[in-house]
């Protein structure tokens, strides 16, 4: 079925609140999912794959700062979805980037890493050059690099598999983000190692996808839409006699 951008954003926000997100985190998470979906980057698929885990997460569990200095921070994502854990960690990196010109943050142990792009877009919109890097799987080893130019709404994305897997190849469910005030850090493939480019999204293609979504609506899976609406219902209050007083005029 087709839904509008605003509709998807509003229902997602309520759904996140329905599963225990605070209002601000629900807004951010909804923005992240909707942003991806509007650029045809399959935000709802990514959400749906980890939804059960997301619902089961303990809302009281918070990401913690393992280490930080002026330029660098390491944050333990507590095995939470980036929808729950990344917004403030990224704001920390943004603060450092603004203060020092360049910052690096590693968020360890996090899930649904694709969805982080939505928040990176927001930081880029605030004038920061942002690049994120993570590894998706061990066999074959794939790497994903996402880069936003400062003030650009759409990223450049590269996903590739690395043929020569290094000896040290422990599972890595972290994500590394570099922010720079003045220098853009777009992913350009210049490695001497052998790799296969699996996916490449250019800014222009993504902007065209966005335009299409805004004109024609966003196609969503009926089942996912139903699930989001069901979760959103948890924010609503059942009707009772006195509640009708606010339901508008009676004739």
């Amino acid at each position: 079925m087709k839904v509008s951008f605003n509709e998807l954003q509003a229902v997602s926000r309520k759904a996140f609140m329905g599963i225990g997100f605070s209002e601000g985190h629900a807004e951010d998470a909804a923005d992240m999912v909707t942003w991806m979906e509007s650029y045809d980057l399959h935000g709802l698929d990514a959400l749906n794959k980890g939804l059960e885990h997301l619902i089961a997460d303990n809302p009281a569990t918070l990401p913690t700062i393992v280490y930080q200095d002026g330029d660098v921070a390491v944050v333990n994502g507590q095995d939470l979805s980036v929808l729950r854990s990344c917004n403030l960690a990224l704001e920390l990196a943004f603060a450092k980037g603004r203060a020092r010109g360049l910052s690096v943050i590693k968020i360890q142990r996090c899930r649904q890493r694709q969805l982080i792009m939505g928040y990176l877009a927001r930081l880029a919109g605030r004038g920061m050059n942002v690049t994120a890097f993570w590894r998706n799987a061990q066999q074959p080893l794939t790497e994903q690099v996402v880069g936003f130019r400062a003030n650009s709404t759409a990223p450049s994305i590269r996903v590739y598999s690395v043929e020569e897997v290094p000896e040290e190849n422990e599972p890595n469910n972290g994500i590394t983000i570099i922010m720079a005030n003045h220098v853009d850090l777009l992913p350009t493939m210049r490695s001497d190692f052998r790799y296969d480019l699996l996916a490449k999204h250019e800014e222009a293609d993504l902007l065209a996808a966005r335009e299409h979504a805004m004109t024609n609506g966003i196609e969503v899976d009926d089942g996912v839409w139903e699930q989001l609406n069901k979760l959103a219902k948890a924010t609503l209050v059942e009707s009772f006699d006195a509640s009708h007083l606010g339901a508008g005029p009676a004739d």
Binding site: M1, K2, V3, S4, F5, N6, E7, S22, E23, G24, H25, E27, D28, L62, P63, I65, N87, L88, A89, E91, L92, F94, A95, R98, A99, R122, G125, R126, M214, T215, N216, G217, K233, T235, L236, V237, E238, S239, F240, A242, S243, L245, G246, A247, G248, P249, A250, D251
Partner: protein, 582 residues
Amino acid sequence: MIDLASPAALATPVTRAPGLVMDLERLGSFNATRLSFARTLIRVMGRQRWQISCDLFDLNTHGHGEVIYRVQTPNGRYHVVIFSQPLDDALRSDRVIADAWDITFGLVEGDVEEALMQSLAENIPLQEAGRQHPRLLVISRANKSVRNFETVVTDLATGVQPSLESFTEGGYLYRTTAVYGNGKFGIADYGRLRTNPDFRHPFSAQMTAVYVLRQFSIDQVEFLARSRAPETAIALAQPLKRYVGIGNSTGLGMAPFLINHPQLIDQWVHAREQALAIAKSQPPDELARDRLLILGRRAQQFFKETTVEDADQQGRNQMVVAELEGIIDWLEQIPLDLDLWQQLTDWAEAALSLESQELINGLLIELYPQYVDFLEDAMAVEERMELTPDMPLVQLKQLIETHFDWALAEDFDTPEASHWFWYRSIEKEEPRLGVRGIDPGAEKELSLAVAPRVKRTYGKISEYLEQNPRSLTVEFLMAEPSFVDIVRRIQTMAATAYGEIRANLWHRDMRPIHLLRTKLSFLGANRFDPRGDRWVRVTFFQGAPLIEELNNEPADLTAFDDWSFPLAPTSLEQQETYESLL
């Protein structure tokens, strides 16, 4: 910002203090001004020579069927598609939870091909329950005014013009109960309209749909009269047509908008305040004084003629009539001092009711279209609340002390200060009010009351600073993540003057009706008729030029734009000028 090229900029206008303007009761006394969206729309339509015509008028003898109006602008073509259907009298309700209406309609971008028409016919009548097409910019529904509709049809069928009383109470044949835009139920997102030269002003698409509906209401009663008695039926007299507006019934559903869009509200109020400041800084002359006297007498007559059911509002209207008498006397005698307008508003602020104060402000804005109309383009804003994570936390605390002192001053621990809570009902997800401690649902409270949240945030920040005096905002938020949205709001809104409504929305004495009137005044509504504290009936476009006048490409755009405070016609001959009615 004021256009520095404008002569008005030379007078260094000073806007009013936010603490004065953003008081909820004052906002709830606003009337429409020339910067309200209905007024702006009619000006734009006239200036750009929009043409509106009827493409399809397929009604049966009961007035049921389909009607399509074409709206042609210099930039594009749109259609208002209307479905009129039978409705059992027992089902006719203004309640948001209603699911059947006399008519449903939508504004479509582009042409209406057969396949699209079929989709519209299947979904628009369902409103919220339908899956609407992305080329729809607006959907809405309306019910007949039980009081007026049948009377007007019967009178016209028998060859008699309806009595004025049919229009002085309410002033409409149809009343809308919701006008949806911005992506609701699958329709187009506002983001698409932002770059559309026809609908870039806020709510201009919604206002266009309502304006065309007014024409439909006239066309339909005339059609029904002709169908009933082709031998005797007459058309509605032109002055009465102009006196027909469109009613609207609005409840609590509108309230969250004012709180959830503070940057937009800031833009609207700021534009109004800039316009007022510019007007007040102009040196008065005889022409301007005469014009103000004419407008004052017209407004006075409007309020004399307005009958509303709400006794409190009726009293406020009568107070306006009495106070305007004094103002008019004073204006007729006072010398033309350079600061005359400032004297007038100072006097009003010291001695007159809020209704009269804000009415005078609106009339002053009306005097100087050449200096204030550029502000109609300053009503839209890209809303974006962002965090400043590197702000020292102590600076955030100071921001709260400086810009949210009104929130810190309230004691939220008393029963009366925390009486209400806002929640969203399972019935059509409408916002409602519950009594804390009595009604169920407080655990699902909507965070619309900004003041208590700011005060709680302030307390948490103060505690955190005791242990971490040199910390940054982001470090506080890593420890207290649930405050991220309110901190973002505080940081963003501290840079604005008029975004935050300075009221405790939990307080027992808070009147939600003020929130509704604030927004409705910017939309361009008049005849505010509150029904209790939670909903209000208003009228749009009463007195506005008719589509036939628009299609005639008016030569005098100033006269075309001069339709505020519409008066009952005293003659059924061709439209008089307003001045001749006084």
